[in-house]
């Protein structure tokens, strides 16, 4: 299934990244760690937005790719700027992005459940049709 492709590549990226960080002992300074987390959340938001757009049939690769890069950088940059001017913009980014992630997830779930229900009703009508033909033949 196509969904497994997404899960698999995410897990693969995570494994590769974690091994690289562990092996070469790369470390990001303590004060930049929150920005990295906000950037990761922005990336998560873009990916779910992309899946939703793809399901709704209005996926555009340029918008998606630029959104991924820019959202990540912008989220981290805004959080950094917020810390410099004494406003906790990291929290704002977490709330805004988190809300969107949940919204997109619920829409994706609704789409899949709809598809499942449609497939089930189609199967039922097929079964009914089959039964009817069998009944006709036996007659």
């Amino acid at each position: 299934m196509k969904v497994w492709l997404l899960v698999l590549s995410l897990a693969g990226g995570f494994a590769v990244g974690y091994i690289l960080f562990d092996r070469f002992n790369w470390a990001i300074s303590v004060e930049y760690a929150p920005y990295l987390s906000v950037a990761a959340l922005a990336g998560l938001d873009t990916v779910f937005g992309g899946i939703r757009a793809g399901i709704e049939g209005r996926f555009q690769n340029d918008i998606f790719a630029s959104g991924f890069v820019l959202n990540t950088l912008l989220a981290a940059g805004l959080a950094w700027l917020g810390d410099k001017i004494g406003v906790n913009l990291a929290l704002v980014a977490v709330i805004a992005l988190g809300t969107r992630v949940f919204l997109n997830l619920s829409l994706i779930r609704r789409y899949y459940l709809n598809n499942l229900a449609m497939a089930r009703s189609r199967q039922q009508s097929d079964n009914a049709a089959n039964l009817a033909t069998v009944a006709q033949k036996t007659e």
Binding site: K2, S9, A39, G43
Partner: protein
């Protein structure tokens, strides 16, 4: 462009999202790894990880030390038995005591930490109030503390050996070590395992990171072989502390 995107749109948006999912995975791994390594080393107690590392090594080391001490005791006892060796043995233990008091010169491998004032003038009000562009007495004291915790056996600051009565304090524009003025650049030499010491100093959330936050130029670490550290020059004399000798106390008890 429009043809390309329209042809690719519906068929393979999963592929494209998957590719960026890979990048996202790396990003998540980076955030995960950083956050866990911070919580592992811990801002409040960065030493904990160091001690967790090798309880077995420490036990083995203690046992070896005990064995050495016991051998030493038997050596002394033997010397007492055969009066001829007594002088030699007493002299050797005296020399050992002098080494432990840091009143002899020592040499060995170790690390040189150089702390210097930053040429950048502070702009931020917090930096201005705290004078973060300067090296302070507590910076030096913190580094010395960290060096001791990382197992440094001998430490000297700009040629002033750190003994057990050494104080590091602020006296106006200079720092006093053993009552002698010391000014930046402060060169702190430490003899010990160079990798352990450098690792302890460079730890996430450690002492040097706090200093380097203002300007990375302010703190430098260099591993060096064969350093020679001077002897402690201050006086060590007890006026108030009265040593308690086990022999005397037992004699007192017996006379009662």
């Amino acid at each position: 462009m429009s043809v390309f995107s329209s042809s690719i749109n519906h068929r393979s948006f999963y592929w494209q999202i998957s590719m960026l999912c890979f990048v996202l995975g790396i990003l998540l791994a980076a955030a995960w790894h950083t956050t866990t390594s911070i919580s592992r080393s811990g801002n409040s107690n960065p030493r904990l990880g160091f001690f967790y590392q090798s309880p077995i090594d420490l036990t083995a080391k203690n046992e070896a030390e005990n064995k050495k001490n016991r051998e030493r005791i038997s050596e002394l006892e033997n010397a007492l038995a055969h009066q001829g060796d007594a002088e030699k043995t007493l002299n050797k233990s005296l020399q050992d005591m002098k080494d432990l008091l840091a009143i002899t010169e020592v040499e060995g491998n170790g690390v040189v930490v150089t702390l210097n004032d930053s040429p950048k003038q502070p702009i931020n009000p917090a930096d201005q109030i705290n004078q973060n562009h300067l090296i302070h007495d507590f910076d030096v004291a913190n580094v010395v503390n960290e060096l001791k915790a990382a197992g440094a056996e001998a430490i000297s600051i700009n040629g002033q050996r750190v003994g057990f009565t050494s104080a590091i304090r602020c006296v106006g524009p200079v720092i006093h070590v053993n009552g002698q003025g010391v000014a930046p650049p402060v060169t702190i030499q430490a003899i010990g395992n160079p990798d352990t010491i450098a690792g302890g100093l460079d730890m996430l959330g450690g002492i040097l990171e706090k200093i380097r936050r203002y300007d990375p130029v302010m703190a430098r670490i260099e591993k060096r072989a064969k350093m020679r550290l001077p002897a402690f020059s201050g006086s060590i004399q007890f006026q108030y502390a009265k040593p308690i000798r086990p022999k005397e106390s037992s004699q007192k008890e017996s006379t009662k």
